[in-house]
């Protein structure tokens, strides 16, 4: 039976300051993400764009906003879940110290959550009856991992990028095409009017690690193409470049995810991370998985971005399993899953 414990989740591993309140692991009462709400009034000035110190300024108003949205106070919270790595140590420490402060002051259990695991848990928020085991493909600007979630808190990393993350390859080519940052959505939009087979791009395979990813080669191949065209004074068909790059990236992700499903016997693949919002990825993975009787689960965009609801969701299950952390929990920049 589903419990009713209310978890306060906190996430500060990278750019976003986020706080959420989740009940029973599945019901989001509030999910506040600093970049998506107007905190100017509360903060009393312009919010700096990118800085760890910014988390210090935002954490209190963001938590306050989450509690207000949930119509609750600290006394209603049963446990505090926080991202403890990987990420920027300075940034992580802000959320972690805050979480510890609340837990200590209120005598509440503290739950430390791995950032990648939290992304996977976003699927449990989106799909109420989803339970492990299932396979997850976590793709974002900073991460590309294939993870078998065997049980709550039990993960097996099957594959990961050895160089650039998938979202990063898209971003960097977008930068070279003058599409601005973040470039993933811009590439996706432009790709719709391009020919995905216009450019022959390499599909890198990592030797001895068939489930690992490598996107540095395809990025460099596109950049070399752009340089060659420039030198010859030829016009670049940006839409074709975008479509071909996207196809190469999506092919690699789809092919490895299906190979991982085959080798683990998984019948469910849960997408996670910012790039999960990419429609080409969703469509192609769904199509190809359907042929093999595999279901693909995709959370809504808001839960694909860095957010604290997924942290609180993971925290609920960790609490139920007794996976509480000591108050000495530390932030680890390169925390393994």
């Amino acid at each position: 039976m589903q419990g009713t414990e209310i978890i306060l989740g906190i996430e500060t591993s990278c750019d976003e300051t986020s706080a959420a309140v989740v009940q029973g692991g599945r019901k989001i009462l509030a999910n506040v993400i600093s970049s998506q709400v107007d905190l100017h009034a509360e903060y009393g000035g312009v919010v700096p764009e990118l800085a760890s110190r910014r988390h210090v300024e935002l954490i209190t108003p963001v938590v306050r906003a989450a509690l207000r949205e949930a119509d609750l106070s600290f006394s209603d919270i049963n446990a505090v879940a926080v991202t403890c790595g990987p990420g920027l140590v300075g940034a992580l420490l802000v959320g972690l110290s805050y979480a510890k402060g609340v837990a200590l002051a209120r005598g509440l259990p503290l739950l430390g959550v791995h950032h990648t695991a939290a992304h996977i848990y976003a699927n449990l928020l989106a799909t109420p009856d989803l339970e492990p085991p299932f396979l997850s493909l976590v793709v974002s600007g900073g991460h590309t991992s294939l993870v078998l979630m065997r049980d709550h808190g039990a993960y097996e990393l099957l594959g990961r990028t050895v160089d650039d993350a998938a979202g990063e390859a898209l971003d960097k080519v977008a930068r070279a095409l003058g599409l601005g940052y973040p470039g993933g959505p811009a590439i996706e939009k432009l790709a719709r009017s391009g020919d995905p087979e216009a450019l022959q791009l390499p599909r890198a395979v990592v030797r001895d690690h068939p489930l690992d990813f490598s996107f540095s080669g395809v990025k460099t191949a596109v950049l070399n193409h752009l340089n060659r065209m420039r030198q010859r004074g030829e016009e670049v068909n940006k839409a074709d470049v975008a479509a071909s790059l996207q196809r190469a990236v999506v092919d690699a992700l789809t092919e490895r995810a299906l190979a991982a499903a085959r080798s683990t016997g998984s019948k469910k693949i849960a997408l996670a991370g910012g790039v999960a919002a990419n429609r080409e990825l969703r469509t192609r993975l769904k199509e190809q998985a359907a042929c093999k009787g595999i279901e693909v689960i995709v959370p809504p965009a808001i839960l694909c971005t860095d957010n604290a609801a997924m942290v609180a969701c993971a925290g609920y299950y960790y609490l139920k399993r007794g996976f509480t952390a000591p108050y000495t929990l530390n932030a680890v920049a390169n925390l393994p899953l």
């Binding site: 990278c14 700096p48 990420g87 974002s140 990961r160 160089d163 960097k172 540095s216 950049l223």
Partner: protein, 162 residues
């Protein structure tokens, strides 16, 4: 000093030679266009320091940390809007630490760099690259000489495989 590389693997090997010579507090500034091989070179340095496992691009994460013979801090400052944001990242703490700092796009934050450091510029097209090493300070002049000797002595002393 200039070195030629004709592949990503070779760029990594040159990085590994530098990693093997790295000292506590070493600061290396990497410059070069997208796809020039800054991360590949950094991966080599990591291997030379005995770091195992993937060494991935820090563009999104800003700083990646690794544990080797010395701690390795791998920065990418491209995404910073203002060099002042380096301070907010706790940049000085990393520089003052007894580790090795590799800073991609470090030329964008010139005024924030310690006076003494090593500059590595990667340039080229297709698969070939020219790596230009410039020393700022005597310690780094000596380092470049040692690096040249190490690279000239040929392959076999640095295995950049994960």
């Amino acid at each position: 000093m200039r070195l030629k590389s004709s592949s990503v693997t070779e760029t990594e090997k040159i990085g590994a030679a530098l990693g093997a010579l790295a000292f506590a507090g070493m600061v290396v500034v990497l410059s070069g266009e997208l796809g020039a091989g800054k991360t590949a070179f950094s991966r080599g340095v990591a291997r030379g320091l005995g770091v195992r496992g993937p060494v991935t691009s820090p563009t999104f994460t800003l700083i990646n940390e690794y544990t080797g013979r010395l701690p390795l801090y791998h920065f990418d400052v491209y995404r910073l809007n203002d060099p002042v944001e380096l301070a907010d990242l706790g940049y000085e703490e990393y520089l003052e630490d007894e580790g090795v700092c590799l800073i991609e796009w470090g030329d964008l934050v010139q005024e924030w760099l310690p006076k003494e450091h090593l500059k590595v510029q990667l340039k080229g097209q297709g698969d070939t690259r020219t790596l230009t090493f410039t020393a700022q300070g005597q310690r780094y002049e000596k380092l470049i000489k040692e690096l040249k000797a190490r690279v000239d002595s040929g392959p076999g002393d640095s295995h950049a495989r994960s």
